[in-house]
Symmetry: D2
C-alpha cells in the first residue's frame, strides 16, 4: 500500500507484490481484525488519545466495512499487503482523515497477533464441539451394539474376544484426551497482545485491560517482544490437531478393513462411499480413506511451521507470515473431518453374522486356556508353552480348540480337566472383570461414565 511505502521511491515489483501480499490468505480474518480495531478505537477514545467523536466515526466505518465484506461488496484489492491495510485504507476512503488515526498506538505486528489469537480461540471452541459430536456418535454406536462381541486384534491377528463397545470406547477415550489437550492449550492462547506495538510497547497511555475485556481475553501479554514474535500457540494447535488426526486415521483404517469383503464386519451409508468410473460393483470407503490421507497433510502443516520458526531471531520476521496457509488448512481439515466422521459413524450398520463367523476362526481363547492352567497350579510361562504346543497340534489337525476333546488336551498337560471345555467367548469376556477390562459389567459402567461426559 502506497502509504506504507512512504520512504520508498518505487512501487513493489508486480510479481513481488503478489509474492509478499498475504491478503488472499488473511482476508479470512476480517471479522477478528475489525473486532480488534473497534475495541482499540474505543480504548483510544476512553484514554483521550482520540476524541469520542472520532472513535464513533471509526467504529461506524468499520461496522459498515464488515457489512460490505459479508455482502460480498468489498473489493479486496491485490495491491493491499494484508487484511489490515485493506480495511484501514477502505476506512480512510469512507471517513477521511479521521480514519488515519486508527493505527495510533498499534503496529501490524501486534494487530496480527491479536487477530490470530481471536481466531484460534474460536477454532479451539469449534474443534472441541466437533470432538464432542464424534464422541457422541461413537458412544451411541457402542450403546446400540452393547452385546456385540468381536475378535480383538493385535498385529492384525485375532487375539482375544472383546466387546465392540469396548473397542469403540477406546476411541472415545483417545478423543477425550484430544479434547483436554485443546483445553490446556487455550490458557496459552487466551492472552491479549495489543499494546506490544512493533516490538517494544507503545508510547501512549493506553488501557490494555480494557481492550482485553472488550474482546473476551482473560489476560494481557507480559512481554512485548515475546508477544509479537512467537507463534508457539499456533504450533500447539497444529500439534494437537496432528494427534487428533492420528487417532482419526486409525479409526479410518479400521473402517476400511471392516468394510472389506474379507472382514465384512460393518456397512456404511452410501452417502459416505463413492463408486468407480469403470467397475460397476464398487463401493469405496472414500471418506475414511481421504481422512487417512488428509492426516498426512495436517502433519505436513505442522512440520512446515516448526521449520519456519526455527532459528528466527527476535522479534517479527516476514517468514512468520507463512504461518497462516497451513494453519487454516489444518483447522478446516480437522473440523470437517470430525463432523463428517460423526455422521458416518451414525450410519454404520454392524453385520453380526460375519462377525460371528470370524469369532469361530483363529484361536482367540488360547490365553484363557493358559490362564486356566495357571489357576490349576502351573506357572504362567509354563502354561504359555503348553498351550503353544496345544495350538500347534490343533493347527496340524485343522481343528479349533473347541473341536479338541479332553483327551487331546490331556496329552499336553495332566492339569487339564473336563471344565476346560467350558471356556467360551462369553466366559472369556466375563473373566476380564477389572477396571478397563472388556467384561460386560465393566463396559456397562464405562458407557455410563462416557455418557456423563457428552451429556
Amino acid at each position: 500500500m502506497s502509504n506504507i511505502r512512504g520512504r520508498f521511491s518505487k512501487p513493489a515489483d508486480k510479481l513481488a507484490g503478489q509474492y509478499t501480499t498475504s491478503l488472499p490468505v488473511d482476508q479470512r480474518l476480517y471479522k477478528q481484525d475489525i473486532a480488534g480495531s473497534i475495541a482499540h478505537a474505543r480504548m483510544l477514545a476512553k484514554q483521550r488519545i482520540i476524541t469520542q467523536t472520532d472513535a464513533r466515526k471509526i467504529v461506524d466505518g468499520l461496522l459498515a466495512i464488515q457489512k460490505e465484506i459479508e455482502l460480498g461488496k468489498f473489493q479486496f484489492k491485490p495491491e493491499m499487503e494484508d487484511i489490515h491495510m485493506a480495511v484501514e485504507s477502505r476506512l480512510i476512503e469512507k471517513i477521511g482523515e479521521v480514519g488515519r488515526k486508527l493505527h495510533t498506538a498499534r503496529s501490524r505486528n501486534d494487530q496480527i497477533a491479536l487477530d490470530i489469537r481471536l481466531f484460534t480461540k474460536e477454532a479451539i471452541a469449534e474443534t472441541q464441539k466437533g470432538i464432542r459430536a464424534l464422541q457422541k456418535a461413537m458412544l451411541e454406536m457402542a450403546e446400540k451394539n452393547r452385546a456385540v462381541v468381536i475378535p480383538g486384534y493385535t498385529h492384525v491377528q485375532a487375539a482375544q474376544p472383546v466387546l465392540l463397545a469396548h473397542h469403540l470406547l477406546a476411541y472415545f477415550d483417545m478423543l477425550q484426551r484430544d479434547f483436554e489437550r485443546f483445553n490446556d492449550s487455550l490458557k496459552r492462547v487466551d492472552v491479549m497482545p495489543l499494546g506490544s506495538g512493533a516490538l517494544a510497547g507503545v508510547t501512549y497511555k493506553i488501557d490494555r485491560e480494557f481492550v482485553a475485556k472488550a474482546l473476551g481475553f482473560s489476560k494481557v501479554s507480559k512481554n512485548s517482544m515475546d508477544a509479537v514474535s512467537d507463534r508457539d500457540f499456533i504450533i500447539e494447535y497444529e500439534a494437537n490437531a496432528a494427534i487428533t488426526m492420528m487417532h482419526l486415521s486409525r479409526l479410518a483404517e479400521e473402517l476400511v478393513l471392516w468394510l472389506s469383503v474379507e472382514f465384512g464386519y460393518i456397512e456404511i451409508d452410501d452417502a459416505y462411499a463413492t463408486g468407480s468410473s469403470i467397475m460397476p460393483q464398487k463401493k469405496n470407503p472414500d471418506v475414511a480413506e481421504l481422512a487417512r490421507g488428509k492426516t498426512g497433510r495436517v502433519y505436513g502443516n505442522l512440520m512446515a511451521l516448526l521449520t519456519i520458526m526455527k532459528g528466527l531471531p527476535l522479534a517479527y520476521n516476514s517468514d512468520m507470515q507463512e504461518d497462516k496457509p497451513g494453519y487454516f488448512d489444518t483447522v478446516d481439515t480437522l473440523q470437517t473431518t470430525l463432523t463428517i466422521f460423526a455422521g458416518m459413524i451414525k450410519s454404520v450398520k454392524v453385520n453380526k453374522a460375519n462377525i460371528q463367523r470370524a469369532l469361530g476362526r483363529g484361536y482367540i481363547l488360547a490365553t484363557d486356556v493358559a490362564d486356566y492352567l495357571v489357576k490349576k497350579g502351573a506357572a504362567f510361562r509354563t502354561a504359555h508353552e503348553i498351550v503353544g504346543k496345544l495350538v500347534n497340534y490343533a493347527v496340524s489337525k485343522g481343528k479349533t480348540l473347541a473341536e479338541l476333546d479332553i483327551k487331546e488336551y490331556q496329552q499336553f498337560s495332566p492339569l487339564f480337566k473336563a471344565d476346560v471345555l467350558k471356556i467360551t467367548i462369553e466366559s472369556a469376556l466375563a473373566a476380564r472383570d477389572i477396571t478397563g477390562g472388556t467384561a460386560p459389567n465393566q463396559v456397562a459402567r464405562a458407557l455410563v461414565a462416557a455418557r456423563k461426559i457428552v451429556v
Copy 2:
C-alpha cells in the same frame, strides 16, 4: 527368546532377530521395568494369585538383577527380544520355576506401556528442571545487565531501542510456557496401564489401584485397548520438546549473530566455543550452532512417530516398537541442550561499547518522532508518512536524525518544535510505560515477577 517362540518350529533368522529385537534400545528402561515387576509381584501376592514366599523370591531376584545391571555385570544377550524377556529370563535362571510365575496377569503390551510411562514421568520432571535452570540463567543475565540498552530488531533491521533485560525476558516467558506445556501433559502420562493385558484386560482378580499407588501413579487407565495401543503421550512430549527446541534455536541464532564481529554485542566463554583445524584465529560458537542443528533432529523424531502411528488399527502393532529410538534421542537432546545453555548463558559477557556504537546507527527513534507528531495533533498515518520523508532526507544527507537541526525538521511539518530534539534513546524507553513494554520500571517489575517463578 525360545520360550516365547513355543509355537514355532524354527528360531528367528539371525538378521531377523537383530532387526526385531528392541533390547539395544529398551535396555535403558531396566529400572522402570524392574520397578514395575516388583509392584506387580507384590500385588499378585496380596491378591493371593501367587504366594508371599514366591513374591519375596521374585522381588529379591529382581533387585539382584538390578544390581547386576548397575554394576555392568548383566549380560544383555542379543537373542533376547527386549528388556522384559532379558530380565524375566535372567530371573528364571536365578530363582528357577518361581520366576516363571512373574508374567501371570500381564502382557508385554501393558508392561511396555507401564515402563515408558514411568520413564516419561521422570523425563518430564528432569526437563522441567532443565527449563528452570535456563530461565534462572536468563534472569540472572537480565538482572546483571538491567541498564543495558540494545537495538531491538525486526527483520534483522534495527527497529526501536529495548532493554537487553526486556529482550532476555522474552525468552524467559517462552520457557515459562514450555514449562507449563510439559505440566499439562503430565496429567495424561500419569495413568497406570498394567492390568490391560494384551488388549482386553486380564482374567485374574488383580488390584490395579495397589500397583498404581506403589508406583506413584494417581490414576489407572480406563480402557484396556486404548491403554496398550496409544502413544499419544509420547508424541505430546515430542511436540512439546520440538516447541522448546524451536525457542532455543531462536536464542542460538541470536547468540551466533551477536558473537559475530559485525554485531559484537557479546562474548562467551572459550568453554562453549571450538577452534578451527586450519584457521588459527577462529572461535566458533559451536554449542549454539549445534543446538540449532539438533532442533532439526528433534523435529524429525516427532515427524517419525506421527508417521509411525498413522493408520494403525487397534490394538498393539509392532510398528509401535519404533517409538523409542527417536523418543530417547529427543529426551536426551532437549535435556542436555537446556543444561548446557544454562551454563553458556551464565558465561556471557556483554560488550557495551559495541552495543553503544550500534545504537547510534540506523534510525531507531523514527517511531518516536512519528508519535511526537501525533501528540502535536497529526493523524498517525499522516505522521508516519512525514517521518518517512524525513528519514529519506536524512539518509540522503548521510545524517542520523539526531544530527538534523530543527529547521530541517520543520521542512517536513510545521508541527515540529524544538522539543523534538529531546527525543533520545532514554526518552523512547521511558515512554513505553505499559504492561509488557520496555520502559525501565516495567522491566524492573517483570524481573521481580520472574524471580518469584524461579525462586
Copy 3:
C-alpha cells in the same frame, strides 16, 4: 456424479460431497485432461473401438469445452467429483449419447495418472527455466563484481578472504545440481500410463503407443498396477523442490544478513522490500524472508505426501487424491520464488566501502600466516599453534595482524622474516590458485565455464 453412483440408492451427503470432491483442486488439470481424452478418442477410432464420426464429435466437443473453460464460461458444478467427471458430463450434455463412449477402455485411475504426468512434464520444464534464469542473474552479478573481495565466513565468523564472484558461483553450482536432478527425474515421469485401466489393464485392443506418441511421451508404462498406484514421481519432484528451496533459503539468509546495517554489504531495490506500518524508517527484506519461510511449506508438502503414501496396499486408494494440493503449492512456490529471486538479484547493488571496512576487521589472514611458517619449514600443526598464540597476542593488544611489527612476530617463532608482512588480502586470494579455489584466475575460468551453461 449421479451416473457414477449408479449402484447407490442415495446421493452423497452434502458435506461428504464437499469432503470427497477433488474438483476445486484438480480443475487446474483441465488442459491435460482434455488433451488426454482427445488422444484417447482418436486412438479408439483408429482401433475401430468407436467410429471415426463418433471420435470427431467427441474431439470437437472436448475442444469446445476447453474454450468454455478458458473463457471462464464453464460451470464447475460442486456435485462433480473431479475434473474428469466435470468434463465428461459436460461432453454428454453437449453431444449426447456419443459422449458416453469416451470412457471406454479407460478408468479414472489411469486417467488421473496421465493428467498428472503431463502436468509434471510441463512443471519440470518450467522449473528448469526458472533455475536457468536465476543462474543467469547470479552469474551476471558475479561478472559485474568480479574484482570485489569479501570476507568468507564459516560459523558466521570471518574466515578467509574470497572473491564475491566465487561466493556467488557457489550458488550457481548448487543450482546446476538442482537443474540436473530435475533432468534425471524426467525419465521416470515421461511414461504414458493410459491403458492400465482401473488396475489390471483393459479388455479392448487399444494402441497405447499411439496415445503415447500423440501426447509426446517416449514410453508406455510396463505394469498396470504400478502405473495407477504409485506417486513416486511426484514425491521425487517435491524432494527436488525441497532441495532447491533449501539452497534458495541459504541465499535468502545471506541477503538478509548482508542487508542488515551491521553487515551493510548490499542494497536491493525498493521493489523487493516492504515498509513498516509503524516504523517509518524501515526497509525490510520481505521477499528474502518469505522465501526462507516458504521453504518450510515446501518441506511440509513433501512430508505430507510421503506420509500419505506410506503403507497403502495396491492399487489405487483415495488417500492418493490428497497428493495434489501440496504438490501444486510446491510447484507454484518454487517457480515463483525462482523468478522473483532472479529479478531481486539483478537489482542488488554492492556497497564496496562497507565491505572494505569489514575486510580490515578480524584476522582473516591467519591461515596464510600459518601456511607461511609451513613454507619456512614448520609442521602445519605446529605452525597452527604458533599463529594461534600470535592472534591471541594481537587481540590482547587490540591490534590487527597487519599492525604487528616483525619483532612481535618473531617473539612467536624465529621462522618469521620481514616478508611475512607482505601477506595481504590480494596475496591470500592469489595463493589459492587451484581448481575450485578463489584465486582471480581460477574464478575467471569458472565464470567462463558458467557462461557456457546458461548461454
Copy 4:
C-alpha cells in the same frame, strides 16, 4: 583437542565437550578418513610439499592405526572432537613431529566432505545390491507362482482378477525406479572435494586430480565454498531412501493383510515372525510391521536434515555436524530392510485354497460384463449403469454374478446373450492383453524382461 584449542585459555566445559564431539558418531568413518589421509599424504610428497620419507612414515602410521581400530585396540578418547583429530593425534603419538605435517593443505571442512562422499559412494553400491536382491526374490516368487490368480484390489475392495505374478512385478518395477534414482544421484556424489580447504581453497600447489584418481573419484569439485558447505547429496540419498522405504512399507502392509486370518493368502516362515508373551497362539508378522514403522524413522531423518540445512549462510556451520546420526541410521535401516525382505519373500508360501475362495466372493467380473455390453453396442457409460443395477440386484438376492441366469441378466438389458455366462476369471485375465496388462502372455513377457535385469 588441545592443539586445536591453541588460541583458547580454557578447555571445553565437560558437558560442552560431550555435546560438541562427533566422535561417537563419525568414528564409523575411520576407513574413509584414513584412506583419504593416505591419498593426501602421497600427493603432498609427489608435489614435494612434504618429503617422500615423511609421506612413507605417515602412510605406515595410518595403516597401523587402521589395524589398531579393526582389532579393537584403538582408544577413542572422549576428548577428541572427531574422527579426524582422533586419528591425527594418534598418528603424532606414534610417529612424532612428522605426523604434524599431515594436515598441511587441508581443513577438516574438506576432509569431512571427502569422508562422507567416500562413505556415500559405498552406501549407494550396497543399497543397490540390496535392491537387486529383493527384486530377485520378488521375481522368483512371481515365477514360482505364475499361474496363481488373486483378486486385485483398489480401496481394499476386490476390483478385478490379476495374476499374483503381475502384482509382484509391480513392486519389481517400483524397485527398479528406486535403483535408477540411486544411480542418478551417484553422479552428484562422485566428486572429490579435497583441496577446498576451509572454504577458499588452499595455498599449496597440490594435485587434486591425483587424489581423485587414487580414491576412485571421476571428478573434482569446481567451487571450494560449495564443496564444503553443501550436503544436498546426503539429502538426495535420504530422499531416495524415503521413497524406497515407502515402497517397502506398501509391500509390508500387504504382507500383514495377506497374513491375517481374514485374507489368509500367504504364510511366512517362523523365522520372520514373533510370538506373544501372553497369547500362545499368536504368530505376528513382526518384520513387516517393523519395516512399516521404520519407514517413519527414515522420513524423520530426511525431514531433520532438510530442516538443519535450511537458512544456513555459507560456508560451513556446525549445524551441519548433525547430518550424520540420521544419515547413518537411514543407510543402515534401508540396507537391512532390503536384505531381510529378500529373505522373507523367499520364505513366502502361497495358500491357493484361501485365494480360490476369495476369488468367488465379490463381483470382480463386473467390469468385464460392462465391457461385454460395450462390445454388443452399448456406450460405456450406459453399460456401466446397467451393470451397476445388475450388481445391486445380485446383492439383494445374495447371489454372485455367476449364479444369475441369463433371464435375470436380460431384465437389465436386451443386449445380454447366453455368451455373457462365458465370462470367467480366465477370460477376464486373457482379455487384458496389452502392454502392462495382466493377461498371462503379457505377464510371461514381463517376467522374461525382469529376469534380464537381475541376471
